[in-house]
């Protein structure tokens, strides 16, 4: 089948972003096993949840609080997932699919698929970018998750080697591309301070949830707003190389 130059461009972008992002699955798989999940649980998270930021949040909170921190882990994953709702609203009119495909589109609506789609110039190229990026990352992310989980299982008690620091670095990597304006920087600093100060007083996971209130307050009041239009809803395409989330 002949493809337009725009569609070819979209496919190239899908491979560039998709392969880079899929490779993080190794770190997720290894860290999930370190956090106490078995290989099946790790793979089900990547297959079913398929949203890096939420997945890292679940294993990070379970690692520090155990199963008792379950409600906080679920709430954190869901709050991080609200971003995907916005992407879905952006993608819905572009994809305009029937129901079975809409379900699949929903499952694959993440930072990178939306970013690649929105960076394309024509409607068919946007669709091509979304589906190619979604499928490349879905396959790659799940395969590398399995590899990471098997590796983590082999290494055993990996925290002494530094994988706990790797988890912190992973969250920083997901955060980094979002810190381009004053408002998110202020929110990030304040949320880190709130979570740290509350840690000794509250069960694991809860300080992270309360730190989210910083975003609600600053977001509604719109303090430290950028001078041009605030509230950008489509992700920065460059975020694609910064983190699956």
């Amino acid at each position: 089948m002949a493809r337009s130059p725009e569609a070819m461009e979209a496919i190239r972008a899908s491979f560039g972003v998709g392969l880079a992002v899929a490779a993080y699955g190794v770190s997720f798989g290894a860290l999930a096993v370190t956090a106490g999940l078995d290989i099946w649980q790790t793979c089900v998270l990547s297959l079913l949840m398929f949203s890096g930021g939420s997945q890292f949040a679940v294993i990070g909170i379970l690692a520090s609080g155990g199963a008792a921190a379950g409600p906080a882990a679920i709430a954190s994953a869901a709050l991080l997932g609200t971003r995907n709702s916005l992407y879905a609203i952006t993608m819905a009119p572009i994809l305009a699919e029937n129901w079975p495909r809409k379900l699949l589109a929903a499952h694959w609506t993440i930072d990178e698929s939306t970013a690649v789609a929105m960076a394309q110039s024509t409607l068919p190229a946007k669709r091509t970018g979304f589906w190619w990026t979604g499928s490349i990352i879905f396959i790659g992310w799940n395969l590398t998750t399995l590899v990471g989980a098997l590796l983590g299982d082999l290494i055993g008690d990996v925290s002494q080697y530094g994988l706990d620091a790797a988890a912190a670095a992973a969250f920083l990597g997901l955060l980094w591309p979002r810190l381009k304006q004053l408002q998110p920087i202020v929110v990030a600093v304040a949320a880190a301070v709130v979570a740290t100060l509350l840690t000794p007083a509250l069960p694991a996971g809860v300080p992270v949830l309360l730190a989210a209130l910083v975003a609600v307050i600053v977001g509604i009041a719109n303090w430290f707003a950028p001078r041009d239009r605030a509230g950008e809803t489509s992700p920065d395409p460059s975020a694609g190389t910064g983190g699956i989330s």
Partner: protein, 101 residues
Amino acid sequence: MTVWQIILVASIAVLALKLLGYLVPPSIIEKPTPARVANLLTVALLSALVAVQTLAVGQSIQLDARVPALLVAAGLFALRVPFIVVIIAAAATAALIRLVT
């Protein structure tokens, strides 16, 4: 809750939120406040997770090899080094410090 229940409930919640976006009228996105709050929520949660993962051991705050490892990671991210390389460098930094101390 068991770990399996946590994984399934959290996964279904995240999936449902994605699907929700295909069901609501697109006009909702024209209001800037929900969009802004959702974007800032991501920033706040990720930043809080960085802090807790770097400083907390259970419910206590401890400064250890994770702090210099995170500083190394921040420096490498600033230099636009690829994600997976930074993660390995951070893990290696912490592991080395633990080896010599």
